[in-house]
């Protein structure tokens, strides 16, 4: 696991010769896994929320986590594609392209801003807030076109609550995992 995980070739000096100009195997594996994780968490972890008797999924927590820990590229790709796959599997296939943009931009912006000054708390907060704005507004305008203004407005508080929960968990997650990556280098391998 490369702690930066960013960019072509993975940035690791130990990366093997890569004549085909593909991203490094580390990056392929990491991105595939983070994408699967985003989809699985979106589909499985739903939080009951009494005030509205609604359910929220924790997919945004994974998008923010990926972005804050592995950078904007991981946030955009894994967050966008992972959430889009969840849409397809949950029966909103037609919504997948919109989700790709909504969650992809959420991850991209959160990763770009949130890692300024080595991920200072203020940067993370700002990044999550800006990313949330991208997500909420993308969904709002898309639903306006697709469903009409009524359902679009009705969805806004739901999405806001979702990014509030997802954002706070995403920040909480990025701290211990970043520490783990930094102190241990990598989780201990089984011997």
């Amino acid at each position: 696991m490369s702690s930066g995980g960013e960019g072509e070739g993975g940035g690791s000096p130990a990366a093997p010769r890569n004549p085909a100009k593909f991203v490094s195997p580390k990056t392929v594996a990491l991105y595939g896994i983070l994408t699967a994780l985003t989809t699985a968490v979106t589909m499985v972890l739903v939080v009951p929320f009494p005030p509205t008797r609604g359910f929220f999924n924790l997919g945004d927590a994974m998008v923010f986590f990926s972005a804050l820990t592995f950078g904007m590229r991981a946030g955009a790709i894994c967050g966008g594609i992972g959430s889009a796959i969840a849409d397809v599997l949950l029966g909103f296939g037609y919504f997948a392209p919109i989700t790709l943009v909504a969650k992809g931009s959420e991850g991209l912006v959160a990763g770009a801003i949130g890692r300024i000054k080595a991920g200072a708390p203020a940067a993370k907060l700002l990044g999550v807030a800006a990313g949330s704005l991208c997500m909420v507004s993308t969904y709002f305008f898309s639903e306006w076109v697709l469903y009409g203004i009524g359902p679009a407005i009705a969805e806004v508080p739901v999405n806001v609550a979702q990014v509030l929960i997802g954002g706070s968990i995403g920040i909480l997650l990025s701290v211990p995992v970043s520490n783990l990556l930094r102190t241990a280098g990598r989780p201990h391998q089984e011997r």
Partner: protein
Amino acid sequence: MTVFVDLYTDADTFLHRLDPRVKIVAVVLLSLLALIIGNLVHLLVLLAFVLLLLALGRATLSKTVFALKFVFRIMVMIVVLWPIFDPSGTPVLAELGPVKITEPAIWKGVAMAVRVCCLATVWYILMFTTSQRDLVRGLVKLGLRFDFGLALAIALRFIPTFGVTVESITDAQRARGLELDKGAPLRRSKNYVAVLVPTIVSALRTADMLSLALQSRAYGARPDRTYLRDLKMRWTDALALAVVVTIFAIPAIAKYLLDASL
């Protein structure tokens, strides 16, 4: 948990045999068509066509019901809310303060709901009849970079695994007295950290092992990959593509070139 992690059902219909690229293109074109036409009758015809294709692809009832469950809720919401926010047209059926309910708005709401239903169901023609492997292969052949295709294949492969991991870890933490649905919102978020950290760590361990497996199988050794089973367009695929393009092109041309109202 009644969530399908793979919508594909194995069968031997012409839709199953069709080149995945043709199906991907068809889904995109039919979706665009649903967005172009706004007339209720035309939308219903399109919906009937899509449902016919689903039936021909032998979609199982349980998967279809599951797939439409969420969409149905949205359709109801559109039918109810559209007239409230759309005051255009006459005759006015009811007026309550600033809210004006008109007959055309009601029909518009129904049409929008049918459109969403078309958009939702058309996806299942692809998803019910195309295996994940063929789907990824089709996307790569359509121009998706091979390494991204591989990452996508990895993702699809591990979704069910991680679904089980998340559930198992939730159990493990509940056995330590963790009550996920208890406490104020922030407290509740913290509860989920106890589930998500082990999940992420176990996933990142998997990524580490996977990257070694990729290296040991000479991933990226040469740019010109060969495939064991290559995709080839047959005449039936070409025919299907032609039919879909025609179905899309006629209304599109009618609307934008001939300026017909659809």
